[in-house]
Symmetry: D2
Subunit: 481 residues, 4 copies
Amino acid sequence: MALKTGKQYLESVADLKLEAHMLGRKSGDLGEHGLVQPSQKAVAFTFDAAHDPATRDLFCVESSLCKAEINRFTHLHQSAEDLVNKVKMQRYCGAGTACCFQRCVGLDAANAIYSTTFECDQKHGTDYHQRFKDYWSWIQQNDLVVDGAMTDPKGDRGKRPKDQVDPDLFLRVKERRPGGVVISGAKLHQTGMLNSHEILVMPTLTMRPGEEAWAVCCAVPTNAEGVRYIYGRQASDTRKLEADPLDVGNPFGGQEVMTVFEDVFVPDERVFLDGEVDFSGTLVERFASYHRQSYGGCKVGVGDALIGATALIAQMNGVAGASHIKDKIVEMIHLNETIFSCGIACSATGEATAAGNYLVNLLLANVCKLNVTRFPYELARLATDVAGGLLGTMPSAADLNDPVAGPYIKKYLAANPDFPVVDRMKVLRLIENLVAGAGAVGYLIESMHGAGPPTAQRIMIGRQADLEQKVARVKNMLGLV
Amino acid sequence: MALKTGKQYLESVADLKLEAHMLGRKSGDLGEHGLVQPSQKAVAFTFDAAHDPATRDLFCVESSLCKAEINRFTHLHQSAEDLVNKVKMQRYCGAGTACCFQRCVGLDAANAIYSTTFECDQKHGTDYHQRFKDYWSWIQQNDLVVDGAMTDPKGDRGKRPKDQVDPDLFLRVKERRPGGVVISGAKLHQTGMLNSHEILVMPTLTMRPGEEAWAVCCAVPTNAEGVRYIYGRQASDTRKLEADPLDVGNPFGGQEVMTVFEDVFVPDERVFLDGEVDFSGTLVERFASYHRQSYGGCKVGVGDALIGATALIAQMNGVAGASHIKDKIVEMIHLNETIFSCGIACSATGEATAAGNYLVNLLLANVCKLNVTRFPYELARLATDVAGGLLGTMPSAADLNDPVAGPYIKKYLAANPDFPVVDRMKVLRLIENLVAGAGAVGYLIESMHGAGPPTAQRIMIGRQADLEQKVARVKNMLGLV
Amino acid sequence: MALKTGKQYLESVADLKLEAHMLGRKSGDLGEHGLVQPSQKAVAFTFDAAHDPATRDLFCVESSLCKAEINRFTHLHQSAEDLVNKVKMQRYCGAGTACCFQRCVGLDAANAIYSTTFECDQKHGTDYHQRFKDYWSWIQQNDLVVDGAMTDPKGDRGKRPKDQVDPDLFLRVKERRPGGVVISGAKLHQTGMLNSHEILVMPTLTMRPGEEAWAVCCAVPTNAEGVRYIYGRQASDTRKLEADPLDVGNPFGGQEVMTVFEDVFVPDERVFLDGEVDFSGTLVERFASYHRQSYGGCKVGVGDALIGATALIAQMNGVAGASHIKDKIVEMIHLNETIFSCGIACSATGEATAAGNYLVNLLLANVCKLNVTRFPYELARLATDVAGGLLGTMPSAADLNDPVAGPYIKKYLAANPDFPVVDRMKVLRLIENLVAGAGAVGYLIESMHGAGPPTAQRIMIGRQADLEQKVARVKNMLGLV
Amino acid sequence: MALKTGKQYLESVADLKLEAHMLGRKSGDLGEHGLVQPSQKAVAFTFDAAHDPATRDLFCVESSLCKAEINRFTHLHQSAEDLVNKVKMQRYCGAGTACCFQRCVGLDAANAIYSTTFECDQKHGTDYHQRFKDYWSWIQQNDLVVDGAMTDPKGDRGKRPKDQVDPDLFLRVKERRPGGVVISGAKLHQTGMLNSHEILVMPTLTMRPGEEAWAVCCAVPTNAEGVRYIYGRQASDTRKLEADPLDVGNPFGGQEVMTVFEDVFVPDERVFLDGEVDFSGTLVERFASYHRQSYGGCKVGVGDALIGATALIAQMNGVAGASHIKDKIVEMIHLNETIFSCGIACSATGEATAAGNYLVNLLLANVCKLNVTRFPYELARLATDVAGGLLGTMPSAADLNDPVAGPYIKKYLAANPDFPVVDRMKVLRLIENLVAGAGAVGYLIESMHGAGPPTAQRIMIGRQADLEQKVARVKNMLGLV
């Protein structure tokens, strides 16, 4: 089947007839909903890029499963170069949308499940790997959007899954029926789920013996019976529902949902882990590391957009030539490229798994993400500095359009005469979006917590760094025994 | 006259019958308007504190002009201790409102004008100082809220006021009439103006000979003829108009307006500088330095609220005992107290002006503010880290109230059983407010640009640091000539 | 008795006939020793300043004990202003010597012991306070240098004093004899001890019941029988022994010794705590906090010297006008003044103890010191940046003096023609001294560990910050119960 | 010819009979000199590694010029993988020596000259490329150490080379003789030159028309007539001359010399650029970028040694299990791996030049180096924190060996009983060496200024980042024209 276009994607996702609880109402047609459109548009960007002559070489790749040409967003990485290209593709999408384009998490889940199921089968004689290959080949051929769902609500942080008051606080197999299992629970912070065709459910942490019910990985259609969505609020979200799009800042956007699985039946052929607790940790660690690599691409792209907007507003403000302005922009570039370097490095040093697909360098992928929990904040701070106080005080588009107030706004917000006032306002709104609006959810909050909070990365860094070898070398250098 | 209560203040400001352009409409009664109420409530806080037995000693002080007991927010500082108490008072208000309570700018303007007019009179034989004393005595006795208005639009940043295409891009004396002057122009980023009784207009930079028309300082009632307000947008502002207050996060709030002065007549007795360009710089420098001191109090208070909310959400999430959580909270405290130390230090080392009121240490006040352009960002980053991903993904109050969606939210957002889910949501919304919502305008954007951007502070630091003395001492130590 | 001059001080300390183990030999006359002279010169600076008309007002103060005029370095602080003046005096000495001038630790110990003994007497009916007053009055009248000795070796960090293999690893009362006690143990990192007349021994941590033997505070002359000194090495120390002083960089300097107390007898009138474990923690906490305040003065002074040297080398290199150079120097000033602000703030908010002398604000003193563990490192980094690579590659003074090599050095190290090459070399050597030489011990390593390592400050900050109040206010603001 | 062993290298460099001005004397046999030995040992490490079975695959590579097996330190990079392997090799050497092993600069010079001469020949019809190939093939076959010499003294920074009072302040062709040129000038900061067989002289900046005499690149034997060396001092350098090696800290080390070229004759076949000013900038830019990549390997290796030493001293101090200690070590690893990621990324994205060898990604190589001017300082700060105050106060080896003082040192420096005191002292001395001793020259000062100071990297980052494209994309996203 051919690679979908953005338009075909939008039609296909509309066909799913998904609904969500949104701001106290049940949504009607999501694709028509003002809150949802910008985020679907961002996903559509990933489809159109595969048809754009300027980028199709980067986005199109031959499948390892079915020999068809597929979108790289469904690819099982066959080389370190594939891992590098993934990061470059993500940076391109981030720069083009200045938001989360939502398609990485499924890609990262698929690559993690692919190798984990292989190793699980080797040890336990299960047949998850073939099941998954069949499933994923279908995904590739139909160019579907898949969401990876990992984060459980977790309830009382001091207690294990089995010790919670409510066993659903970690998603679990609640019941077994002929031909499949029934799952119950919820997944939080699901960025792209409402724009996806399928969901890959994964456990949220390393399960231990006795916690088999919670060691479940499986695929579920987004429109399966029993799946329910509750929309997450974002800063400034309802601006998207206003008449004039100016105040939104960015025509693209992300979205977040809490997803409830209420006794959802999953047939056996869609189950990829079921009680093998010894592989739950492997799956979590691999998915997290792939996704930490992803941030070395996507957030760098958003950084590009923020840097571009900052350089542009400096021109519009008439201060682009000031040495301190240039210095701040160089600093933004430096920090952004440092993240990118980490994204590239963990890819270029990636290695083949037993199953044959490539895994990122676990140490460097975690280093990458830990920088993502820091540098975007400094980029946002510097952008705020350069952009000026209007970021927090600029009148609304509605007042700009007002016959009385509008002329005053135009008179008094004029700066560099080479640029119209309304364009200056648009750029300021984009920067506002990223530093203190809906875009800040993706660029700041998600950079902190997406793919796990910084503490999770620190633990992995401590574990992966081979400190013993460093100590041994020093002992050797100093002639200690 | 007695010190006003918050309620009396609200009534008095309602009597002014101010109106503004807001989101495309002309506001009706501002005090009833959902956007404005939280910000008036914050101002009212400064009145009630003067009646609260726990704080009245800090807030009440004897006037140096009229011997009455006044609110410290209208006081002319008579000692370094007064300067220190100002900072402590601001911290208290910041902590109690978690926002800008809007009453400092007038206080800072008054203290700057008081000493500048004295010195101007000494040199030029003008009588501005007595005029100002009469005016300010009236302010003190009526316990009024005064906004200080400094920031001009500035148009083309490469051009001086007189060289702008439009001479109004810097506010100016446009015409002279018997008994007064007519001013024309605008002031941007006016935080508390809609909640004020009076405006103190000041020049925005050091004027030069030939720019006398722009060297004007005067007082104008907020409801003077020809004054027009256009409301500034803030992230998430319209949440304040929603049915359930939960999603707003903070019951208090700031607001910003662009203020247009269209041929406003100012009688001579309200004019405090009119063409004496050699004192424009003094006025700007002193006002800016007082206001940079202010940030060493108010933003520290907001920091207290953010730290408190962060510590509380850590308890609610059930992770308050984790060493990395405690460490992050200690770091927040450390940075916040470092700012406070700068606020105290520039106060404790303040000195008397020729007019007799006390001026902050200019070097340390600028150091204080420069830290304010940095540390709140790190506090916000750390709060985001501790609070967790729900900051960007939590469902709306409307869905919490929904009979279908609500129970799922309560089931899955349960964490530490000692706290109700709705309380956890409230605390998360307060943190969201401060790091990526309406509160971020005050805590982050205003911390950057209020009282001048960081570059302005750096220039003052370079100028005030007496580098020559440091060089001379080193030469002496090394025996160089 | 009159205030000593520097010369009188040097004579008085020579009279003590102290000796030390130094680089494998027993020192002869310390005052003649090349390693020791720079550090005695630094102490002498504190005496001469009390006679210099430019500074005597700051350095001279009336004693609260004996009504004589004394050097502020022996003063018991009688007001917050005294605390502020202490910091200013320390900054002046730091700037004039660019090193540790060694006289603060005794001052800080005295003020801590003064209030602690008072409270101990109140509770336990002991008479330590009067003993201490008598002792300290004698110190003041003779203008003596006193070292405070706190840091025990501590041995196995996981064990309490009484559980160590060797009980001497914490200094203790080993034996009681008529009229006094015999102490045994050692104190590490003693900066000024070899230049002191007296030692105030204090416990190193809060002792518990059962650890009475280790809860001892007393005074010992530096030349008491049984006291032994072992000199500590510093980077580049032996340059001080070379023929040409150029390569030393700084004519002043610090020094460090390990001090062993081998069965030293202390008469009862010199014992100020002896087994009252409940006051050991108070003493440690107060001494540490006073000393953390001290760093807000002395290290700021050293920072002044480094900033002056950096500005001077920029002139000598011919790059003083470059915007990035100016920016780096402003940043150095900013960080240095931030530390100073903390020093001032913890002083200005200090309060009277029950005994009547003033104690610093414990929270802010710890905030002060924690910044000292960070900012000097950034100052050193920026100085290294501005100074240039010669810092690490410049030929020796001996080669400069060589008839063959010298002319090449002069030819090729010429830069800004307004300055002789040898002066440029002197300034570079001073910077080298501070960033990677003997001065770095004082400016970097001691800034980290002196008055306790950063973790000790963090614990105190967490304890002093009244987090509960911040949480309570947030609950109140949000209407939570 | 076979790859040299370390021993063969030491013999070969001894045969050169080099001499230097050192601390006021003319050195005799350098290989026997205590100051020089540690640095020759570091170079020898690069030879021995090519014979060590554990590393020979990384260090040995087939030459592109002569098909022989050569040491990678003389290799012309034939692929991005070669660039990556270069960085890995450098990290290994840095970790093994904890200092500058001095062999990268020649490697980087060779790769830069190789491609620059090719392009120069294409444009100008010169035959530099073949000359260089012949020369370098000889270097490879004889496994020689080559120093790249770029940094001119530069005199008055405000003047161009031709405007200096003394034309030698930039190295130049002073005279032309049959068959060659005579050069005159000096090169500063030459790290490995005294341990090298050959020197590659390069211009220090982009020359302009009229400055042809200064646009010279050529090869000179280190023992050529007219070449003179003046040794640079390092912190703590003379400890290397003391009886007991303990206090040196590191058995390896770097060294620095000022090199004077006094009318040195260079035959035509060793001249690779002579007046083609339009290629001087290309050469500088490429060499600098290769060398900035190098720092992404070597300094990471030194970082490994510092991290290892810090982890070891934490064990020895008995605090390895404390959460704040573990956290600091994780932070050190994180920063170190971030630099490494930049080294890898600029390599993995390297591309072929017209001449066929591979050039690093210029943007990312500069990003790499800019991080090197920051993170090692923080690593050093954290190591200082963990190691403890003994870093600046520990007694000398001579006193440890003293029959009287020694036992006290052993008694009181005992900590974790699993480690002998002398081993603890050795590790502390290694850390001292790196943070405030001779090693700090390499790890801190050289990290700042080697391969150009941070400002040079910022200029390149601004130039290479394609800011226009970022601005254009934002305009496109917002629909601006």
